[in-house]
């Protein structure tokens, strides 16, 4: 089992009645609510948290991209990745997961090939390249890409980047959306032929999963509604792989989980409950105006979504509404409690989902720095060591940089 520490980098000081007084945490959140003096402290605390996670031996640290957003303050994940790159390089085997750059938003998209190339070389080949489509809020509303063009632009950018990473000759690219006379990306990536590619996304379609499998990528399900909400997606994901003749290696998939650890179950509730509530109530206060532009998903996905109670992330929000602490745990939205409880819940969830990579969210909403550090430390010392070898007797680690594959081979010996 691999563990990735990820921090959404939320603005942790939204007004008390934010969800009542303001339309949305995304797109229309007033910029006057952002206090750069507090922001300075937050960024530096959050970078400290990443550095702590590297010191404590997480397999990777993960950054992601959001725009005009009060819960995700990495409009440029590559900048945060850049600040972490040297520490990643100096660590024993921690990798750098960017999950990722929303390809359709980069003009020209070879910018992604270049910056990822830089990070891969600086870290000595420890980069994992995440290529998400991006949310409708980020892509359609904040960055103005028309929903109908979003996916064609994404796939074209993907093809261009991949070619830029694998083609040794200078080449031209005459695409529908990108025309470049001379494509020649310097530096080339440290890993050969290129860094592992992971595809982060919401409840993807069968077509997306097929494409992921054909390319031998990892699929990372980025939902914030927890392991039980994710079950339906992963059941379909694995069924599709079997149907298409691919293996069931759990390292082909990752899932995101909110985790809260303290000395005892009771203390976990005492320490984390208000911050989890802040996360769901304030950080996730997204107006339906911007939640999904028409055309963001294919007509078939929309229709399928309407037929299932697990059909969309919006459905996750509905299912979560009004749940108390214990219900949030019982229904899998959060994994919380003493280290022992967390180990059990996480083992159970990973088994059921059949997933080899856990993207652990450990800093939630309004959490103070010291509590986030405590959560990270307990995760690294009291939880991860007990679950690390979960899949190793059955499956080889795949879709990771060499440093991790080597570590695994050695530990198996």
């Amino acid at each position: 089992m691999k563990f990735i520490f990820m921090n959404l980098m939320p603005y942790r000081d939204l007004p008390e009645n934010f969800e009542k007084d303001y339309e949305s945490v995304y797109i229309s959140i007033p910029r006057t609510l952002y206090d750069p003096v507090k922001g300075h402290e937050m960024y530096n605390d959050y970078i400290d948290q990443y550095e702590l996670a590297i010191d404590l031996g997480f397999d990777a640290v993960g950054v992601n991209e959001h725009h005009s957003n009060g819960y995700g303050l990495m409009p440029s994940p590559n900048i945060i990745a850049g600040t972490l790159a040297r520490k990643v390089k100096d660590s024993e085997k921690t990798c750098l997961l960017i999950l990722g750059n929303s390809l359709a938003l980069y003009n020209p998209p070879i910018r992604v090939a270049e910056e990822f190339g830089m990070l891969d070389v600086i870290t000595g080949g420890r980069l994992i390249a995440g290529f998400p489509v991006g949310t409708s809020m980020d892509t359609n509303y904040a960055y103005g890409v028309s929903p109908a063009e979003l996916r064609p632009r994404y796939y074209e950018a993907h093809d261009l980047i991949k070619k830029a990473w694998t083609e040794d000759e200078v080449f031209h690219f005459n695409g529908k959306f990108n025309q470049l006379r001379y494509v020649n990306v310097w530096p080339r990536t440290h890993q050969s032929p290129h860094p592992q590619i992971w595809i982060p996304g919401g409840g993807a379609s069968l077509e997306t999963w097929d494409w992921v499998a054909e390319n031998d990528y990892n699929y990372s399900y980025l939902s914030f509604y927890g392991h039980k909400f994710a079950q339906d997606k992963f059941d379909k994901f694995w069924a599709r792989r079997l149907e298409k003749g691919y293996d069931m290696n759990p390292y082909k998939a990752s899932f995101v989980q909110l985790i809260c650890i303290s000395e005892t179950d009771a203390k976990a509730q005492e320490e984390y409950e208000e911050h989890i509530n802040y996360f769901f109530e304030k950080s996730f206060h997204v107006s339906p105006r911007y939640a999904e532009a028409p055309g963001y998903r294919s007509p078939r996905s929309v229709a399928a979504g309407m037929r299932s109670q697990y059909g969309s992330e919006g459905a996750g929000a509905q299912l979560r509404k009004g749940l108390n602490w214990q219900q949030l745990i019982d229904q899998g939205f959060i994994i919380a409690g003493s280290p022992e409880s967390v180990r059990e819940q996480l083992r159970e969830a990973s088994k059921k989902l059949h997933v080899g990579n856990i993207i652990a969210l450990l800093n939630h909403g309004s959490m103070p720095h010291h509590l986030a550090c405590k959560n990270i430390e307990l995760m690294a010392k009291e939880v991860m060591p007990h679950l690390r070898d979960m899949w190793d007797d059955q499956w080889p680690v795949t879709n990771w940089p060499e440093v991790q594959l080597k570590a695994n081979k050695e530990s198996v010996k």
Partner: protein
């Protein structure tokens, strides 16, 4: 109200259009708004006096070509070819909202193709002080959208607009088709429905009638006068107490004004 005929028209070797057709007499083309092509009482009334052609935009209602066509100019040329395929060398065109943007562009790019032009609550121009509302952002809140489309939410037209089929599969199909129309129109309207008509509208020679709701909550009535200023000799008809769908909210009034304008203007051949 009997249903119009749905005709499949070959526009190019690999592109076909679905066109609603009904009526006899002088031809008139109706270009629908971003919400999709709906045979409403306005079109029904017009079909009693005209031969009405209402094509679905590519990608919507069975019309193909949405992935072959790239960008605004491909779409404009496509419509000329569609007119050719329908045998309409010079024709009267009515455009509603997004359809108005398209109609104005067709009349500006090749002025001889459009004889009489009716723009109903058309987009296509842009005024920084009174921006066009981002209609797409209201699709997830149908109640709010309804309030923006109509002044009187209790009128029959508003009820017809907001009523979905009771049968679940039919309801899903209706919602999905509406989203498709929005996404396809969105190719040309996103994120701002201004593709430079302002720089070309001086070419327009069609007799033009501009019909607008005085309380249009999506495309403010200021735009009626903006079109009027840019189209010398045009006339403006303000429909009181209506919003973005005046031909539904004041059916008789708008039908009368349409017929009056088309019958007193020089007839298209």
């Amino acid at each position: 109200m009997s249903s119009p005929k749905i005709e499949t028209v070959k526009v190019r070797d690999n592109i076909t259009a679905k066109v609603l057709i009904k009526g006899e007499g002088q031809p008139v083309v109706f270009l629908h708004g971003a919400g999709g092509n709906v045979w409403d009482p306005y079109l029904e009334e017009l079909s009693k006096q005209y031969k009405v052609y209402a094509p679905f935009i590519p990608g919507h209602g069975g019309s193909t070509g949405n992935t072959e066509l790239q960008g605004w100019w491909d779409l404009v040329l496509y419509y000329y070819e569609l007119f050719d395929a329908l045998g309409l060398e010079t024709v009267d065109v009515i455009g509603h909202s997004f359809g108005g943007m398209l109609a104005a562009e067709l009349a500006s790019t090749d002025p001889k193709r459009v004889k009489n032009l009716i723009l109903i609550a058309a987009v296509g121009l842009w005024i920084d002080e009174t921006p066009v509302t981002d209609v797409f952002s209201y699709v997830n809140t149908p109640d709010v959208l309804l309030e923006k489309m109509f002044v009187d939410l209790d009128c029959d037209a508003a009820k017809a607009f907001s009523t979905l089929p009771e049968n679940e599969e039919q309801r899903i199909e209706a919602i999905v088709e509406n989203l498709i129309a929005l996404a396809e129109a969105g190719r040309y309207m996103w994120p701002i429905p201004d593709k430079g008509l302002d720089r070309r509208i001086h070419r327009l020679t069609a007799n033009t009638c501009i019909i607008w709701g005085d309380k249009d909550a999506l495309v403010p009535v200021d735009y009626a006068y903006e079109f009027y200023k840019k189209i010398p000799g045009s006339k403006v008809e303000i429909i009181e107490n209506t919003s973005h769908y005046p031909q539904a909210e004041k059916l008789e009034d708008v039908v009368n004004k349409t017929v009056e304008f088309l019958s007193t203007s020089p007839v298209a051949k």
